[in-house]
């Protein structure tokens, strides 16, 4: 296959985006047709490119900055996954967004995002990667900003958070390039000692902020409400996870020589564990379909970071497997949320209920995806979580406990969500119908893939993930049933406990939506939740407060300086001016006197200085 073929995943979405841009407004379905055709072509190209190793490089701007792209097992896998989601979500969007006036903009941003993500994944040069990486930031901003009336604020929030993290990454890249002496990613191999440690931290900040980990997460729940729904299904749920975790894996495994027991590994695992628990705690008490899902989108990143952070083969495989699984079930969940929103007109759980009969296919897809995310055997999430548990346990009991606690709460929150939205009595409108077929197909395809990846987990593990790690696996094979029976038993017990907890919660509060109220109002948690809901812990808000404080101080200083210039100086000036003006009486005898006096002084000065 010619080396230029590697450019297809970048060029096809780009050309499609431009084509959509030039579609006339009156052309009806043309923009949808063009978008779907473009993403289908992109998917086709990704399939053809899969399993080929290609290198492509042309000089770009000197100083070692070449447009060099590299397609190998890992990037080909990500490209394929991106192309698959791109096609399905675009198809879904044609149904859910057609009537919206921002649809055309959305398609252009979406296609440009595919272009940028593919470019970032393929690039083998830090600067080129940075170019594509920042490109996703712009389209991210655009896609959020076209949403509802609060969207611009949320878009700004996302832009600032991700932008600051990208700035960190940029600095990290500069240090890395300095230490490694090259900008070519595949040739970088440095240690985390001294400056290298700083570079590692900075690059990790860039990667996990893209993936949406805590503490860089706080824009995602806001975007879930404000941005167009397909955006949530494709970016925070799927593409950003793929991109962020891909880069995190590259950092941890290729670019830096990390030891299993290094501080770097512990740091990553700690971030992962904290993200899992805190985000899912927040998810548990949400009362909005999309917002609840968005917290899970954050929480699940924790599992991936935890898995990769273990640096043991089983953990890494688990982390990567979880990455693709999460992309599947999370986008599926968001798509069901979108269907519910479109058909029932709301995503507020208090107003939903009894949708099981009216939207049976959506309900089935939701059930599969929810079972997957909760880690119910034999769905795909179960297998990847078991691998991560295994890896976490190998590194420390505390990480395992955090992971299993996260599982308990995940299951509990999805029991609540499913119960409140689909079961029970219908409180919502009576004329709710099943979603249109173009929205159902993506959901069904993804749900089936969830089942497939669970039942036949050798397919993703042997075909996609294990080749990525190559000799690092030391002959292990993680396909098939989990090896540690004790962990499986614990998992099943935890899921059962989650069910009991749900039943207890529903009994206690009397309604499905109140299933988590007893946790919400537990003695210590109550006050913490109160503060969290007031965004007390949102790093963005804390940052805003600090900036506000600074700006207030600066404003005082500014006012003081203003006073000096505008009041003091002016008054002094006018006083002096007035005094001198009074001297100018217009009386020429005094003018002559001045002249003579000054002359005398000058002559005396000159004569004295002889």
């Amino acid at each position: 296959m010619p080396g230029h073929a590697i450019l297809f995943p970048i060029i096809i979405p780009l050309i499609t985006a431009l084509a959509v841009l030039f579609v006339p407004k009156r052309a009806g379905w043309a923009k949808e047709i063009v978008s779907v055709a473009g993403t289908a072509l992109n998917f086709f190209a990704a399939i053809i490119l899969f399993r080929s190793n290609l290198n492509f490089s042309i000089p770009w701007s000197g100083f070692g900055i070449d447009l060099s792209l590299r397609l190998y097992q890992f990037s080909a896998f990500i490209i394929l996954a991106v192309a698959g989601f791109a096609f399905l979500v675009t198809l879904y969007s044609t149904a859910s967004l057609h009537a919206k006036n921002y649809a055309k903009q959305f398609y252009v941003y979406l296609l440009l995002t595919f272009c940028m993500v593919n470019g970032a994944v393929l690039s083998d040069n830090l600067i080129v990667m940075l170019f594509f990486w920042e490109g996703t930031l712009l389209t991210l901003f655009g896609m959020i900003a076209i949403g509802n009336k609060n969207a611009f604020k949320t878009a700004t929030k996302a832009f600032i958070i991700v932008g600051v993290c990208d700035l960190c990454m940029m600095t990290g890249m500069a240090i890395t390039a300095h230490l490694a002496g090259t900008l070519t990613i595949s040739q970088i191999a440095i240690t985390t000692g001294g400056l290298g440690g700083l570079a590692f931290i900075l690059l990790v900040i860039g990667a996990i902020s893209k993936a949406g980990s805590m503490p860089f997460h706080s824009w995602i729940p806001d975007a879930a409400i404000d941005a167009p729904l397909p955006f949530m299904a494709i970016l925070p749920a799927a593409l950003e996870k793929l991109l962020g975790i891909y880069f995190l894996t590259r950092i941890s495994l290729d670019m830096f020589k990390l030891d299993v027991h290094s501080w770097a590994s512990t740091t990553l695992m700690t971030i992962g564990a904290i993200t899992i628990v805190l985000a899912v705690m927040m998810a548990l008490v949400q009362k909005d379909y999309k917002r609840l899902l968005s917290y899970h989108a954050i929480s699940q990143v924790g599992y991936m970071i935890l898995g990769i952070g273990t640096l043991v083969p089983v953990g890494i495989v688990g982390g990567l497997f979880h990455m693709i699984n999460n992309a599947l079930y999370k986008s599926c969940l968001f798509l069901t949320g979108g269907s519910v929103e479109k058909q029932a007109g709301t995503t507020d759980l208090a107003k939903l209920g009894g949708l099981r009969r009216k939207m049976p296919i959506t309900f089935t897809c939701f059930l599969i995806a929810a079972a997957s995310i909760s880690g119910v055997p034999p769905f795909n999430g179960f297998f990847s979580k078991e691998l991560i548990y295994d890896g976490a346990l190998e590194r420390g009991l505390i990480f395992y406990i955090a992971a299993i606690a996260g599982s308990f709460l995940t299951a509990a929150s999805f029991l609540k969500l499913g119960h409140a939205a689909y079961l029970g009595k219908g409180q919502s409108k009576t004329d709710v119908k099943e979603a249109p077929v173009r929205m159902l197909i993506p959901m069904i395809v993804i749900a089936l893939t969830c089942v497939l990846f669970g039942l036949w987990n050798a397919l993703p593990l042997k075909g996609l993930i294990q080749p990525v790690l190559g000799e690092r696996l030391e002959g292990h094979n993680f396909a098939g049933l989990p090896s540690n029976a004790l962990l499986v038993i614990i998992t099943v017990v935890v899921l059962a406990l989650a069910l009991l907890n749900h039943i207890y919660g529903v009994r206690k509060s009397g309604k499905a939506i109140g299933a988590s109220d007893h946790i919400r109002h537990a003695p210590v948690l109550d006050s913490i939740y109160d503060r969290a809901e007031k965004r007390f812990f949102d790093p963005y808000n804390i940052g805003l407060h600090i900036v506000n404080l600074f700006s207030r101080i600066a404003s005082w200083l500014d006012k003081a300086i203003d006073w000096v210039y505008n009041v003091m100086v002016v008054r002094t000036m006018y006083a002096i001016t007035g005094a001198i003006r009074k001297l100018h009486t217009g009386n020429y005898s005094s003018y002559i006197l001045w002249s003579i006096g000054a002359m005398v002084l000058i002559v005396i000065f000159l004569i004295r200085s002889i």
């Binding site: 002559i592 002249s595 000054a598 002359m599």
Partner: protein, 479 residues
């Protein structure tokens, strides 16, 4: 050859009175005659590079019994004189509607330009005095010409203070004649060099410098200047501010200080001190003015201070900066006075409290005055920036850090009063009663635009102008 510069205006005045005085129609044509005369003067100056200039036309030069001499500095002054005279002529055509009055004005203008041309070419100190008096007398008449009480008072103040200056300079000339036995620059320079420490000669130097300070209107010798500038008719203000005080005061100061007197530290200290005082007093008083022209007059004093400050450094760069600022100032200050003439003529007042927002009705006037005041304040890339920065650099090079800082600081005050002027006169809401305002006539607008273009052009092509025309000026130090 240099005598041509005297002969052209001299015969010009004669022809003017013989040919054009006959009737009103001819008097109207006098404007075009004077214009042609000034243009030919500039042309003669330009087409004869200073190197070829000093070949004397024997018969003509002997006619005067005065030896003329031209160098790069005189060349720049020629350009200033021609340029400002033309600007003044156009303003006169615009503001002076009565034919006879304008004819008289043209006569006096040509005479003043004759005097100034003489000042910048003479080689002996007594002839210098004579030409200075020619300039001064024609200036008195020009100021007094409207015969209003105000203009008579202004002229009288100028006359009295000028008389003081004359007395001082004549006494100095007498003493120097006694000491050196001659009045030519060369004789005096060698005489002074011989008796360097004689207190009599230093006394004479002091008197002469003070006389020139009065002529140049430096603080505290400036009493006459604001009244004269304000009282004079618009076209005369342009001439006075643009070139008369510069030729009589500043140019002579440069010439005398560099080629006559020992260019030593005490004199430099006096120059820098007086320069700095002028800069600050002029600028600070300008802030409080309500009269447009009076503000410009004080601004002139302040800018003269810069020139003297640059001269006081005593280095080639400082003098080049001073001469450059002199040229720039005569461009942008005459531009501002031309605009003030347009405003005064159209609105009937120069009181800034009665003006406002007239840029809407007089866009060209408003825009060109913005360029002029930005150049005055030293905003890059306009010409004023370069001359000021050269003066500051020269001060810095000679370790006069305090003066350098003060010079920069004063720019801010300059900006302050010009911004307030611009806001009160040109920007903001149009003051009621000025709705019927019209733009000035085309001749004046053309002058404004050309002067603004020179300011921008010299600023943008600064290296070219500076290296070709201004920098050679420092040769006067070598001589």
């Amino acid at each position: 050859m240099p005598s041509l510069m005297i002969l052209i205006p001299l015969f010009g005045v004669i022809i003017l009175n013989l040919v054009f005085a006959s009737n009103d129609k001819m008097k109207r044509a006098a404007f075009w005659f004077a214009l042609a005369l000034f243009i030919s003067q500039i042309a003669v100056a330009i087409f004869h590079h200073p190197i070829f200039w000093n070949n004397s036309l024997k018969p003509l030069d002997s006619f005067f019994k005065v030896s003329f001499f031209v160098d790069h500095l005189s060349f720049i002054m020629f350009i200033c004189i021609g340029m400002v005279s033309i600007a003044s002529l156009f303003v006169a055509k615009y503001t002076i509607t009565e034919e006879g009055g304008r004819f008289k004005f043209i006569n006096l203008l040509i005479l003043a330009s004759l005097g100034m041309s003489g000042i910048i070419m003479v080689k002996d100190i007594f002839s210098l005095y004579v030409f200075m008096e020619i300039t001064a007398v024609s200036s008195f008449l020009l100021i007094a010409y409207p015969k209003s009480l105000e203009s008579l008072e202004g002229a009288f103040k100028y006359l009295i203070l000028s008389a003081v200056a004359t007395v001082l300079m004549l006494s100095a000339i007498g003493i120097l004649l006694l000491a050196s036995g001659g009045t030519s620059f060369f004789a005096i320079a060698s005489g002074i060099a011989e008796a360097r420490n004689s207190s009599l000669i230093v006394f004479a130097i002091g008197l002469f410098i003070c006389g020139l300070f009065i002529k140049g209107g430096l603080v505290p010798f400036h009493g006459w200047l604001p009244d004269a500038y304000t009282a004079a008719p618009a076209s005369v203000s342009v001439l006075l501010a643009g070139v008369v005080t510069k030729a009589a005061g500043i140019y002579t100061m440069i010439r005398i200080v560099t080629s006559l007197f020992p260019y030593n530290q005490p004199v430099n200290n006096v120059l820098m001190l007086v320069g700095t005082i002028s800069i600050f007093v002029g600028a600070i008083v300008a802030i409080g003015q309500d009269n447009f022209k009076r503000m410009l007059a004080y601004s002139s004093i302040s800018q003269m201070g810069y020139i003297i400050l640059g001269l006081g450094t005593g280095t080639g760069l400082g003098i080049a900066g001073a001469v450059f600022h002199l040229f720039n100032h005569s461009v942008f200050k005459s531009l501002l006075f031309v605009n003030s003439a347009a405003v005064e003529k159209e609105t009937g007042t120069c009181d800034m409290n009665k003006l406002g927002g007239i840029s809407q009705k007089m866009p060209v006037t408003g825009a060109t005055s913005v360029i002029a005041f930005l150049s005055t304040c030293g905003i890059p890339p306009l010409s004023g920036f370069w001359s000021k920065i050269i003066i500051v650099i020269a001060l810095w090079q000679t370790s006069h850090y305090a003066y350098a800082c003060l010079a920069v600081l004063a720019s801010i005050i300059t900006l302050a009063y010009f911004l307030s002027m611009q806001r009160r006169v040109f920007f903001g809401k149009l003051r009621s009663g000025l709705e019927g305002l019209k733009e000035a006539d085309r001749g004046v607008l053309a002058v404004s635009i050309i002067l603004a273009a020179i300011t921008i052009g010299v600023g943008v092509f600064f290296p070219f102008f500076f290296n070709i025309f201004i920098l050679p000026v420092k040769e006067i130090l070598v001589r």
